[in-house]
Every structure is written in structure tokens, then in C-alpha cells.
Symmetry: C2
Subunit: 261 residues, 2 copies
Amino acid sequence: MPQADNGAGLSQSLERGLAILSAFTPERPALGISELARMLALTRSTTHRYVATLATLGYLQQDDSTRRYRLGPRVLDLGFSTLGSLELREIAAPHLRRLTDSTGHTSNLAIRDDTDVILIDRVRGRQGRYHHLEFSLHVGSRLPSYCSATGKALLAFMPRPELDRLLDRIDFVQRGPRTLTDRAALLAELENVRRTGVAVNDEELDSALRSIAAPVRSRSGEVVAAVNVAIPWSPVGMDELVSEYGPALRATARQIAAGVI
Amino acid sequence: MPQADNGAGLSQSLERGLAILSAFTPERPALGISELARMLALTRSTTHRYVATLATLGYLQQDDSTRRYRLGPRVLDLGFSTLGSLELREIAAPHLRRLTDSTGHTSNLAIRDDTDVILIDRVRGRQGRYHHLEFSLHVGSRLPSYCSATGKALLAFMPRPELDRLLDRIDFVQRGPRTLTDRAALLAELENVRRTGVAVNDEELDSALRSIAAPVRSRSGEVVAAVNVAIPWSPVGMDELVSEYGPALRATARQIAAGVI
DNA sequence: TACGGCGTTCTAATATTCGGAACATGCCAC
DNA sequence: GTGGCATGTTCCGAATATTAGAACGCCGTA
């Protein structure tokens, strides 16, 4: 059966094997061969061969009783060698901690991956309030950039043509009471970010969730990351919070940038 | 060129592709095609095809200036969906936090992967002392089980034949001033663990590093994880520390076990 | 200018992978 | 019980996806 060409000379087996690994999520932590085969439109025998390979390498584990498979510990190694490879993270760590110590609030370091941001470091503040979403965030979490402070800080300084192509791919979904749900509103907001050097998230991702972020620049001036502090809800206006936390954030971002080789 | 059979019907391409991903470490975060090809004894063209596949899928990123490759953000997703899939981690989280709050010390939840333990959750205590190794540990870290408290807690209750096979694979390296450097000493120590229900690490992994751990059992009675607290060095004797922290650890382990479905 | 190394592309040959068929097992309804 | 259905697993011939060599363009250095 001649198969459609994948495009350029890509490895079908590798692609399929990784698709199998990606099929496991916290919501579906255990999957059987037939289940996987249906999901990926493969035959059971082919699926079994990939799964057997992944299992012998330690990337999957078979449950003795149900005969289904789940992710194995080897997969963790992959993820954490990624984190360890990010020198930015090491440079930023002490500055993040200082930011949290001085403000009392949770701070994060985030990078952009296409239309998302990914938290690559996180220092939890005193767990005063208990915001469900905030609490569930952890290193490795993905958030849409259009409705997060770090995301806006990362988008604001992109070259315009690249930004336009990226915005085309964004699906503006209302996630909080004040989410910016169209491109024009986001663009206007990004203009504010460029003017003030600080990005805010005022209940755009979830209600009662606010945050302020600043971009981190590399030696060459490119924005490579963003730092933020999450601010528990209070009746204080956003402008006031920006005056209160903005300087510390900009300072932290500057200090991190100074350490980047 | 007929190639040696890998064993059973395993997927060569998948195996090689994953070997490429594994070749990236925090020490060697960026690798070129030729470099990878030499490491894995492959031709450059074959290596390139795998790398191109991994790059288009987002698992690798190419550095524009050096043309070398580094791990991409997609790899993080894999690792963290593993963590998210561990329901044990979610169950244990609040109990770990309580343990750290009440003792003031860093606590960990660990599972075993063959001869290693892997930290799957970690709550940092007040950073009073600054122990270099302790500080560098994080979720995802691997430690040898023979010289860690969690490791001994996890080994102690293994069925004897399985334990014997595992011990054969252990290389007893002196890592701290009191490392148990032979099998007999470790076996004797595991007997203590079974008797007291608590495992200790008294400068066996590194100097000035002590820790106490307790095993966590599943519904069926099997030991599936271990909790520990790291204890900053003090002139107090280990026995005294066990009396001080042992009950809280056993209680925490019991509470976690009670939550396991 | 010649050289060696690099990442990359192309291609013919074939080893590796594919998928249908068949087996053993466990589960459920009847 | 018993038949049916779904599962994980194994086998094997067919052929596709993969392989490795050669060649390209590029970049440094000698």
C-alpha cells in the first residue's frame, strides 16, 4: 500500500513512536494497544512493535493486571535534561527567589513556544490565597500567550511580520472576565507593553487572577524570556499595582539579562 | 549490509531517534549532526534524517548561527505529562507540604526506577543551611538507591529474589564519608529498615547530608514510593533524629497510603 | 587557493518495517 | 456452559520506508 509522502525525508517510524508517547496525558494515563492503534490510525501489530520498543527502552511500562501501558520514568529524564540545558534558568533562579522574597508573591520565568508560553522556573510565594488555576501551575505548564502577562511581554517585541503570522494561528477564546478576545485589542495592548516595558494580565486568564510581567533581553537585545509575579486579587486598581511592582520587575529582568552570556 | 538483529522485532528507527534525544544532557546541551553521528555510530545522512524529523516535530531546535541542535520545548511536555499522570503525586502533595511545614525541612516523594530513585515531588524547607548537593536536587532528579534514605526504604521490602538480581547491578561507589560500600552492609541495613519501618541516610551520599525516610504502601501492601525529610547537619546523633522525625514520617506515609485508591 | 569540516540533498539498493492472519486469553451475554 | 467479541501478542511474506554513499554548497583555516 503506497503511503502518502510525509513531506521531506522524515522518519515515519520515529514520528509514529513519538506520537504514541504523546498520546499519554494526565487525563488518559493508561492506554492499550488497540486504543492507541485506533487513535493513530495504525494496525495493532505495528502499534505493538512501537510500544514494545518503547517499553524495552523504559519509556513505557506495562501494567501487569490490565495489560495496558503507561509512561515510564525514562520519559522524565528527557524532560529534565531539557530544563537543565537552559542556562537562562540557572542564571535567573536567584533573582526570581529574591523577587518572591521581597514581594511575597509567586514569581515565574517563562519562554515562548509558538503561540504558548511555558513556565521554566517558578518560586512559590506564601500560599495566602488559594486560587485554583494558580495553584495548579508548575514548571512545564503551558499557557496561551494572548491572555497571560508573560505572553504579552514576549509577543510585544517580536518583529512585526513574524508577529502577524503568529497571531493568525491564535484562537481568541474567552478564558477570564476580561480576556482580550480579538486581534485588534491585543495589538493595542502590546503597544502599551512596548511603551511601559511592563505587561499586565487583569483577569484575562481566569477570574481573580492578576499578574505583571517584564521582558528579559539577551545580549543582542532580543526578548528571550519574561518574568512575572502573580498578584492575589484585591480591590486595588491595576495602575496602582503596576506602580508598586513594575520597578521591581523591570529591575529583576535587567539583572537576569546582565547575567546572560 | 545485513545488520545484527536487535533481539525481538523492535523498531530500529524509533530506538535510534530516542537515542539522539537522550544524547543531549545539561553538560552537552548543543550537538551537531556529525557529533551525534559519531556518538551513535551512524552515518551523517541517517542522523540528519532523524534530527530533521525531531526538529519538525518540535523536539529539537536548530541554533541559527552555529547550526547545531538543542532540545526543544516539546520534550518538556512529555516529561510533565508523565508527572501529571502519577496520581500518587497528587495524593501525596498536601501531606508533603504539611510535613515540611511542621518540621521546617525539605521533604521529598520518590519512586524507584531499577537501581535508582527518582524524586517526583519536593517541597523545599526554609533555606537555612546551604548544602550544595541538596540545593541542586529537584523533581526529576535521580539518586542511587543504595546510598539514599528513600532508596533504602524502597529496597527493603522488595521480594528477596528480585532484590538479589537488583543488587547484582549496583556499583557500590563511595559517595560520602559513610557510604555503605558493599552488599553485605547494605543488606544488614535493609534488615534494620524492615525492623524499624524507617530508613536513614547518614552522610552516605555526601558529607553533612542526612535524611530519614519511610516507605509508602499501596492498597495491596506493596511499597510503591517513599517519603523523606532532609536534615541539615547538626551534632545530634542519628538515633535521636530518628526518634524526633520517625513518627511524623511514618504518619505521613500512612496518610498518603490511605489516599491511594 | 586548497583543504577539511560542517549541514544538507539526492539516489539506488535493500534491510527494515508493514499489516494481514492466526493464536491465546479474558470478558460478557445468553 | 458456551458462543461471541475484544484484547494483547506472534508470525511471516511482501514491499515500503530506510539506509548509506556520494556529491553539493558553505564556512572557516592553513
